[in-house]
Amino acid sequence: MIGEISHFFTIIASCLFLLSFIFSTRTYQSNHNIEILVSRVFSYGFYFILISFLLYVWLAIQSDFSIKYIAQHSNKELPVFYKISSIWSAHEGSMFLWILFLALWSQLFNINLSKKNILKAPAIGLLAFILFGFLMFLLFTSNPFEVILPIAPINGADINPVLQDPALAIHPPFLYLGYVGFVIAFAYNTAFLIKGDMDINWERVVRPWSLAAWILLTIGISLGSWWAYYELGWGGYWFWDPVENVALMPWLAGTALIHSLYVSSRTKALKSWTILLSISVFSLSLFGAFIVRSGIIDSIHSFANDPQRGLYLLGFSAILITISLAFYAYRLPVLISTNLVVSKSKEAFLSINNIIFATLIFAVFLGVMYPLIFDFMYGERISVGPPYYNTIFAPLTFLASIFLVFSVGSLWKRSSQLFFINSALSASILLSTLITLYLVSLFNDFNWWFVGGLFSSFLILFRYLILIIYSFYEGNYFNKASAIAHIGLGLLILATTFNASLSYEKVINIKPGETYTAEAYEFTLINFDLINESNYDSVRAKFSVKDINSLNKVFFLYPEKRKYFIRGQITSESAIKITPTKDIYMTLGDQLDNGYWVVNIQYNYLIRLIWIAAGVMCLGALATFTQSYSKK
């Protein structure tokens, strides 16, 4: 019964969003009442979808297995937390959550935007149209409310053990919040293009929403990377998996957007470019949703399904993107700013980095598309792997870091003095050169990417440190948010550089009683325990590890392999020992015929700093909000 109510409320919400959209197309009569109506009806639509989702959560908590989707993805024995997270463990439910978040962002925007804003009605109308389109997709191709008749199963499905993990349970919601958050910039700027009134100050409206979306997307991606590291046993932080890549593209475009918005709002330059970016970010989010949900790419993330879904998503995305780009092309002649970019000014450096970001996005896009195009043309499967991405990303990131450092302390709309005349800049260059030379000789690693990575990360860190110290000393104003976020970036480059250079991986064959020495540690396989749990059998190895460098201190590691009964799924539980500079990471492989076991040992240097750095970047972005409030 509650299932039917929830279903019915979603249908009502769709009708209300459609109504809100229809009203919004009538606003040209400049009738103020109809504009209020657009916003009101939209709010009602939001409340219906919210209640509908809450009811659905209630059904999941109650384990109502008359609902097919819940029966297939949940189980009576699960803790409440996982009963709720099972909602977004597969296609239908996660689409429902995606739509809820889309509605949530839109409603917050609806509440916050002043009634007097002449773009409010068309922007809300557009959001209503987007919501209506996705609700139709949900109801007609991926209905989570479908029931099993006549009799409901009693216990539900067995649970995919890999999915029972806190990081997995919370990373999709953050990702979705980030992805769909960029819809605000998309809708508002498309409304701006449709209206065509060039005096409207859209940058101020769009910027906080894009920043918030960027923060959530960053958190979502980091949590996903952390989950893959310690739960999937992948032993790294990034794998250039197609589904990671489709999340990275909106992130890169979003990063470019928040910077470009800053330039446009300050100098009136780059306007057309910023608008194109705001359209691209959401389009790339749609592209991601399409790739993951159409079954075009095989990945552990993708949802198996039928081609109808892919076609619907493709068609609807095509409508949105084409409308928006058509208006963009139509308005382009008036959009192109008359304010030219002054050379060696702040906006000039930011523009160069915009170009670099566009190149990175294109490189990832090509990496995702190339196997598809190749398969389509020649019927052969090929894959594009990490070497391709690393060769493109490393040098461009170094280049971007240098222009970033140039932009610090440079001025808007005025040419800045560079190099040796600028003492802070030359001091940072000198310091980072010295420390890079020292570290390169210390680690005896002369790879170009190691040298480049160290130099660019220290360049960023020193430049901002000097800025902070100098500003405190002189009592000058400096952009604290930007300083924090870019220090995060410096740490991220530093951590990834060290991780790539120092990390060690070795696959060994070992049997009980034997010892293997890998760099400064001695691994002795002591024995195996067989553990019988209620839903799985497990083999657990016990290793004693002796740290030769620190007085032969001994600790134990227990890598484990589980076999779950019902699905017969085998999972590997890695054992991780965290030390200040690195993680010692062990995974148990297969048993060989001669009694030996395959064991993978990794030392992952500074891997934790990568996630910390991402956190620092988010903090910096968060700080922009306190700054803009305190200025009022």
Partner: protein
């Protein structure tokens, strides 16, 4: 030049959309469908309901083989469509997969039996040889050769688009 940029802005995405449209409407784009044919592997397993042993030699005619289990929720969902196929006269062989006998028999009794006969594969050995990764999965077999292997729920859409063309092509079930 400016007009070129303006038209490219619209044409490039449209080209991409056209490309994906082509992939999605390709005749055989059904995730889960595998059309590589292979011989039914050798096996010897007992029947689920009667005391008979089946071997691969018993299966040299035309039939559908459906992998199912009482613990499998999707099999419950698929059941209705299998009943319809059975009523339309298709011969469906059940392969009961990693299941316990009494649960499986109880399931058939409760929901009615769409299968002409049922092979009991408690360890999933035949299923493993046939490339089964879970339940439900369905095979189309002619003269001991598997023509279609479909992983996932068979419903009207899948039946019409994946199975029917191959059945017609091979003039089966006439």
């Amino acid at each position: 030049m400016k007009n070129l940029i303006r038209s490219l802005i619209i044409l490039l995405p449209l080209f991409g959309i056209y490309f994906f449209f082509n992939i999605l409407t390709e005749e055989k784009f059904y995730p889960g469908a595998d059309f590589r044919s292979f011989e039914v592997p050798n096996f010897e397993l007992s029947a689920l309901d009667i005391d008979v042993k089946y071997t691969s030699e018993d299966f040299d005619n035309e039939f559908l083989m459906n992998v199912w289990a009482s613990w499998c929720i999707t099999c419950r969902v698929e059941h209705g469509f299998l009943m319809k196929l059975n009523n339309d006269g298709y011969n469906i062989v059940g392969l009961n997969y990693k299941d316990n006998k009494s649960d499986a028999l109880g399931w058939l009794k409760k929901y009615t039996n769409p299968y002409s006969l049922n092979i009991h594969d408690p360890k999933g050995s035949l299923a493993l040889d046939m490339g089964v990764t879970g339940a439900p999965e369905t095979f189309l077999v002619k003269d001991g050769i598997v023509l279609v292997h479909y992983s996932g729920e068979v419903n009207k859409v899948i039946w019409d688009n994946v199975f029917v063309p191959i059945i017609k092509e091979n003039k089966m079930f006439q």
